[in-house]
């Protein structure tokens, strides 16, 4: 018996591919255009005040500049001058010492604080808030207050070290001690910043992992070493990169606390750049140095962005 081979079953209509009108999306939908309008102020402001200065700075860095007049094209001569200038080279060394010292201090204090203050008890929240105060107040004011403490005028250092026979120590006049004070300044202000970054990482570790490790009989140190640290890899790297960017460039600490002294011992690169541009008015060379520093920063910023996307991938 021949059978109709269709799905047309008792009159109900299954979908049939009809003549399909082609309607493709326009290149930019109305919504997309609106979105571009919404982000336009952001994009314009950033291009105007972040990108353009760098471009102009680069242009200036290729010229001899006398009081903002471009007098002659110098090519990369300014770069050469900057890179062979004893002042800049000395500041490079100072920056390296400062950045590494401050990084080690800040990161270890920040990690200790984060681990110690992880639980949200009332006393911990209080201690966290107090630790954050140096970070939220003005960098200038913080350095000024520390300068008052370290200066011989206050008598605090003399009073504290007097019993050890070091009553006439002048911290800010001794190159090594001044660098120590500078590093302390950075640690005092930025440890809480590191703490916050790391605390966010710690809190994203599921507590069951620690519970499981405890049940398995792992000691506190073992849990830190084999559970916490591996899971904190990216937050720690992010903290390292961001602190490094900050320490390599910062100028306020040195400007206010030591003024770069004694004898240039604490003149970091940020401060050298400031000197060159705003005190010596050597705009061409200052721009060359700025571009060089910025190229270095770009590397760190790129690492930061990569780490950021990695963390987002890990925990969206």
């Amino acid at each position: 018996m021949a059978l109709p081979e269709t799905a047309d079953y008792w009159g109900s209509r299954p979908p049939q591919p009809l003549v399909m009108p082609r309607r493709r999306r326009p290149l930019l939908s109305a919504d997309e255009i609106r979105a571009y309008g919404f982000v336009a102020p952001l994009v314009v402001l950033e291009i105007l005040f972040v990108v353009t200065p760098l471009v102009i700075g680069f242009y200036y860095s290729l010229h001899r500049v006398d009081y903002f007049e471009l007098t002659s094209f110098r090519g990369f001569d300014n770069y050469w001058r900057v890179l062979t200038s004893p002042m800049v080279l000395a500041s490079l060394a100072a920056t390296a010492i400062f950045a590494i010292g401050a990084l080690i201090l800040t990161l270890s204090v920040g990690l200790s604080l984060a681990l110690y203050l992880e639980q949200d008890t009332r006393w911990n929240i209080f201690a966290r808030a107090a630790a954050l105060v140096p970070y939220v107040i003005s960098m200038l004011v913080g350095s000024l207050l520390l300068r008052w403490i370290f200066s011989t005028d206050s008598g605090l250092v003399a009073a504290a070290l007097g019993p050890f026979g070091l009553g006439d120590t002048t911290i800010l006049a001794d190159p090594t001690a001044a660098m120590g004070a500078l590093i302390f300044n950075a640690g005092w202000r930025d440890s809480a910043f590191a703490m916050i970054l790391l605390l966010a990482g710690l809190k994203s570790i599921p507590p069951q992992l620690h519970a499981a490790a405890r049940v398995d009989g792992a000691s506190a140190w073992y849990r830190f070493r084999h559970v916490t640290l591996p899971l904190m890899r990216i937050p720690i790297l992010i903290a390292v990169v961001r602190l490094l960017i900050h320490f390599v460039n910062v100028l306020t600490f040195a400007l206010v606390l030591t003024g770069g002294g004694p004898n240039g011992a604490t003149q970091t690169m940020g401060l050298a750049m400031y000197r060159l541009g705003f005190l010596d008015a050597r705009i061409g060379e200052a721009n060359a140095l700025a571009i060089l520093v910025f190229l270095f920063n770009i590397v760190l910023i790129a690492i930061n962005v990569v780490l950021f996307s990695e963390r987002r991938r890990a925990a969206p």
Binding site: V39, P53, L54, L117, F126, A127, I137, G155, G277, N297
Partner: protein, 289 residues
């Protein structure tokens, strides 16, 4: 337990140990707070000491005869003008950042557009650009625009520098608002912009506060940008003025610490009042060193 045993033995050993541990923890927490706050407290104490007392050795912990002379001196010489400049700048920066920031953050959180993901990464990059490295080029550029030494120029710079972080915080917050609310408003006849204004923003209080806090503390505290881009007295901000005092008063720490305290108090008050917003914004990743 015998009734005649001394009260102390009534507390079991483990409990005493526990209490001891809690006490030690509290002591450590206090010590942390003390180290962090000591320079500020010491500056506060100094600012109330008379000039002769400042020279005594060993230094006194608290002022023997508290005085307001240093504060009076600052106000006699017109520190309130610099404070007003800072207030104006802070307000302008907050308004600009929140207005432009919420527009951009909304588009990024809610509209699919080509380049949106790239923009997000660019914003992360912008947030980590260190300002000192921009000073000289920006100075060069502003000189050409004729915006040097003006509050307008400074406000524009502040907005540009803080916009990425404002966008970042608001973007994170907008993502937490249920998308159906927005769909409902759109179906109810509201455009994207009207939806943002009537539905999203009224529900974004905590996000706006968090973003505003970052921006306002930056604008109030900033020293490097202001000192590089301004020179005349009329547009001097409070931090620049304080730096000026450092050169002017030299070793007269009375007025110096008083000015430091004047700058710090508003920040600490805001910080205490809005603490939870600060931390909320910071743990979302939007922190600038």
């Amino acid at each position: 337990m015998r009734p005649d045993s001394p009260g102390k033995a009534a507390i079991p050993l483990w409990k005493r140990r526990q209490r001891m541990r809690a006490l030690v923890r509290r002591a450590i927490n206090l010590a942390i707070a003390l180290v962090a706050l000591f320079p500020i407290l010491w500056g506060l104490s100094t600012s109330f000491k008379t000039t002769p007392e400042l020279a005594t050795f060993p230094p006194t912990l608290l002022p023997a005869h508290p005085t307001l002379e240093h504060y009076a001196l600052l106000f006699r010489t017109g520190i309130e003008r610099y404070m007003l400049n800072s207030v104006f700048l802070s307000a302008a920066t907050v308004i600009g950042c929140l207005a432009f920031g919420s527009l951009a953050a909304y588009a990024m959180a809610r509209v699919k557009f080509r380049g949106g993901n790239t923009l997000l990464l660019v914003i992360v990059a912008l947030m980590s650009i260190p300002l000192p490295s921009l000073l000289v080029p920006t100075f060069t550029f502003l000189a050409q625009l004729g915006l040097l030494d003006s509050l307008t120029g400074l406000a524009l710079l502040y907005i540009a520098y803080q916009l990425p972080i404002a966008v970042w915080v608001l973007y994170g917050y907008f993502l937490t608002i249920p998308i159906e609310l927005e769909h409902a408003a759109r179906v109810d006849g509201y455009s994207r912009f009207a939806t943002l204004r009537k539905v999203i923003l009224p529900l974004s209080g905590p996000g706006l506060v968090a973003a505003g806090l970052f921006v306002v503390t930056f604008a109030w505290n900033d020293f490097v940008v202001a000192v590089a881009m301004t020179s005349s007295d009329a547009v001097r901000t409070l931090p620049v003025a304080i730096y000026g005092y450092l050169g002017f008063y030299g070793r007269e720490w009375g007025p110096l610490t008083a000015s430091a305290i004047l700058s710090t108090i508003p920040v600490i008050v805001v910080f205490i009042v809005f603490q939870r917003f600060f931390l909320g914004g910071m743990t979302s990743g939007g922190v600038k060193s």
